[in-house]
Symmetry: C2
Subunit: 569 residues, 2 copies
């Protein structure tokens, strides 16, 4: 069997899963972000696929297979041919027609359904595929966690109404919970931003791992969980500004030469950052909007966008800042703007009496600025990035941060694609309506790597039984010893006959090499045939817990079901 | 379930499998030669894959998965980057590095093995994958029989010696026989040319079908079978030329103005074509070679190439013909050449006493030309294309032609790739040797189509059980009838519980529509719940034989195993 284990790998493999999959002889890189899956990896991928397949079939999703080669025409209909960016791999065929290698299949499946399903009677419909996808990452890294060619399960549901979309979404959500649970993962479903795919409600499924590149926000009291990009801050619902205390002085301008950052201002004026009111000018769908957050908080573009129900939102450029505030960046404030703009303030700004803001004048700030008294806020909203320790929006508990790896994503797409592609159906009244859609992805190859991120120790991988390439690792310490060879061969036959997947190490290697490889590969249960073979006694060892003991060959067959139940403990 | 059956399809779908897969709602075209597999097709492909997988695993081949995205560097090492031609789909990544979409994986796997296997101790090794392949056919057609994106099983074996290659080749050959037999196919393994992949011994597995684009040569007495491109002609082994009869006149030149083709010459001289000796000048690895065949035979480039153990062989261009023969094409002959060249003659030329040949002079031919007397032949060989009725090279029986679809190919590659890529191992003596290779392919998606080519009738597909999307098609004639609905639901539950794959047609459609769709889709066994539902009686019908009868619901469960045994009859 081709399991080319390695003692060492290059320093570029930083993530545990990347390092261990290389070392355990599971994968080899063919090009940056492009991997060959060797037999052990293939077996794990196959098991992961089967778990996904079973849970998809269980909720009535039908398996299909769409091509990786997508004609550009469909992607031009939705505009993504131009907007998807350099991650889209494109090519021309021999007749110079444009194609792309699908990074996702909304266009192809929407095209299929607009041709084949025209009536509400055929809805809802749920389809999925397990297929190879392509994304030309700028810096592919982390092994299977971020590749350029990778395996995905993508599902799409189509509906005549929002109710069945909600049901399908819930069904997928629970199927995803079952999949990740069966694969032995500690995960959270978090509220997330919809990003480039578009749509409304959506959740990411995150495997908790310190090595993950995403930051999750989790409540320590309830089950609230969100991606840091969209996590809401609690404790502000229905809140009103307190009346302004009469003793607050009137606004006063002070000179703050060259102090354009929070650090410089707080140092120069000897105040703490939470006394400062940060004023940022955003370009929201072409209109300048002033966003106010407390000095120790960060404004969050995604939240600003959502608060204003906008399509585009980014920091305004310097020319706009100059025009609206009359000053360079770093000196903006809500009092004395040169141009009337909408002012959106974070909830925390309500309580910012007697604050410091920019003076809309170079090298100057204002003291004693107070909302409602000195300027009007058009809209209070949650527009800042959550911080550890903030209150939970659901229960008021305390929010904590955690690192995670995104392994799944469920989206309510709505009619974004069906409208762009005129994918319609006739409703009960015979009226043409756009199909309502949901889409649901799981990164199959990434999932295999995420399992390793959560299940490994200093010696190697500690596979959960459901994803392990084999259930049992049978080692004959010395195949030249007649008793050992005989007993090992006999056990191998028995175990396989009992339907177990057994990796049998009958190599002529030193015992130390065999055990080291075994720990590295991480098969859940190891059976060693060694010096006690003459007495028909073997040793078992549970890879994860390290628990071990001796058993007669006969006891082994009886104990095996029990032992296999313990391997994930 | 998404089974969008059609009553009619466009005229461009000429092949039965193409037409029926479209009509049965199995596939839809996304672009020329690029198809989406809908649920029924996916189920069939999955079954075909599982049969292939089982037989590959049985002979100890290990499943892996290689990327479709191949870096150009490896293909430059073997030269195929430049020689593969326009069927190779190429692209550049965002860093403008050249990639291709693999039409086959010799380069990638040879690269893998040269890095991971360095000793004879690790050999032989057998690896396979089931993976999507790409070939930019000029005119993709025939549905899944010739696509641009298609599913393949490709296996590769690596050896330290020829003996284990021979064993592996035999093992694969027999595994292929089992696979095609299990899938209910009438097929022949035929000797074939190695084509662009290179190598020595190889066989194609052909499914017999009148619609096939390959011509097979089969012996009517023994099991000899070959592709027409390479089929040998028997009856010449050990043959010697007969002594030249004394009464044959000496060579005589006659005028044959403008008669440069066989038809023109035979007409002008009023002789039958088999009295003519056709003389063709080939360019063989850069050297001009005169090839002689009888006037009613066709010279075969592949055979000429093999007879001379050459790499390249094609008709010489006009300039070379002029130089060597002193005449334009159509007037060449073995007597009186201007330049000395090798003369290769087909065995049938031995007996061509008193023949007509070109005179190596425009508008002139020679009469009474006789081999050995008037010119010397350097080498007699089998260099003509076989004709129906020719003798079998094995048993002397009669060769017949038949049409077929190539579904598999086994090759002894030898060291073609390992030498080009310096993929070596250390042998027992510690000496570096190139890996000896074999490669073995099965077109998975093409196989699904080939099964239909062999198994269909006027009403639709007649799946063999092993490849059928479902085993049983359960039809409730009228779901509004309480008895029918109840009995059908009950049977469905029972059948599924017994582990059977059941397609349940519970649509509100007319009975005629349901039966037509059922015949079209071609599930092997149909169970109809109709007017006798009140008496708990159902009808069964075997799709292929048309055999039908009535059974009580209870008898059905007992009879089912027996019925399923009969469906392929």
């Amino acid at each position: 069997m081709l399991i080319p284990t390695l003692r060492k790998v290059g320093a570029e493999a930083e993530m545990a899963s990347h390092r261990l999959m290389l070392r355990a002889g599971m994968i080899r890189q063919l090009a940056a972000g492009v991997y060959t899956y060797l037999p052990l990896a293939h077996r794990t991928l196959y098991k992961v696929e089967q778990v996904v397949r079973e849970e998809m079939n269980r909720i009535g999703a039908q398996e299909i297979l769409m091509p990786a080669l997508n004609p550009s025409e469909l992607w031009r209909e939705t505009g993504r041919w131009d907007t998807y960016g350099p991650e889209l791999i494109t090519l021309q065929d021999r007749h110079e027609r444009d194609f792309l290698l699908g990074p996702t299949h909304e266009e192809v499946i929407t095209d299929l359904l607009r041709n084949e399903v025209n009536s509400y009677k055929r809805l809802p419909m749920s389809l999925y595929q397990i297929q190879t996808k392509y994304r030309d990452e700028r810096r592919p890294r982390s092994g299977l966690l971020r590749g350029r060619e990778f395996l995905m399960k993508d599902a799409y549901t189509f509906h005549a109404d929002r109710e069945t979309l909600d049901q399908a979404y819930q069904g997928m959500y629970h199927a995803y919970e079952r999949i990740f649970t069966r694969l032995g993962l500690d995960f959270r479903a978090v509220e997330a931003d919809s990003g480039a795919i578009g749509g409304t409600e959506n959740h990411e499924f995150m495997v908790l791992a310190d090595s993950g590149e995403d930051t999750l926000t989790l409540c320590d009291s309830c089950d609230y969980a969100a991606n840091i990009e969209t996590a809401r801050v609690g404790g502000h619902e229905g809140e009103k500004s307190r009346p302004v205390a009469e003793e607050i002085s009137t606004v006063e301008k002070v000179s703050t030469p060259k102090a354009s950052t929070i650090e410089q201002v707080t140092k120069m004026l000897d105040i703490s950052p939470h006394r400062l009111m940060k004023s940022l000018l955003f370009d929201v769908d072409g209109e300048p909007v002033l966003v106010l957050v407390r000095g120790d908080h960060e404004a969050n573009e995604v939240k600003v966008k959502h608060a204003l129900d906008a399509d585009q939102c980014e920091l305004a450029d310097e020319a706009v800042v100059q025009r609206v505030t009359g000053a360079p960046s770093g000196f903006a404030g809500p009092v004395g703007l040169k141009e009337k703009v909408r002012i959106i303030a974070d909830h925390a700004v309500r309580d910012l009496f007697d604050a410091v803001t920019g003076a809309n004048e170079a090298d100057a700030h204002l003291l004693h600025v107070t909302p409602e008294r000195d300027f009007q806020v058009d809209h209070f909203a949650d527009v800042r990035t959550v911080q550890e320790g903030d209150p939970c929006p659901h229960c008021g508990g305390t929010l904590r941060f955690s690192r995670g790896i995104e392994v799944g994503h469920v989206f309510k797409l709505g009619t974004k694609y069906s409208e762009a592609m005129q994918a319609t159906f006739l409703d009960r009244e015979g009226k043409e309506q756009p199909l309502i859609m949901g889409c649901y992805g799981i990164g199959i190859s990434r999932l295999a790597a995420a399992i390793i991120e959560q299940h490994h120790d200093d010696n190697g991988i500690t596979w959960p039984l459901t994803a392990a390439p084999f259930a049992v690792h049978l080692i004959a310490v010395n195949m030249k010893d007649e008793n050992q060879a005989r007993l090992a061969e006999q056990l191998y036959g028995q175990l396989v006959q009992n339907g177990l997947e057994v990796l049998f190490d009958d190599r002529q290697e030193r015992a130390g090499v065999k055990f080291k490889d075994s720990d590295l590969i991480g098969i859940p249960l190891r059976i060693t045939v060694g010096s006690k073979a003459a007495e028909e006694v073997v040793e078992y060892k549970i890879r994860r817990s390290g628990e071990s003991g001796h058993l007669s060959a006969q006891e082994l067959s009886n104990q095996l079901p029990e032992l296999l139940k313990q391997v994930d403990g």
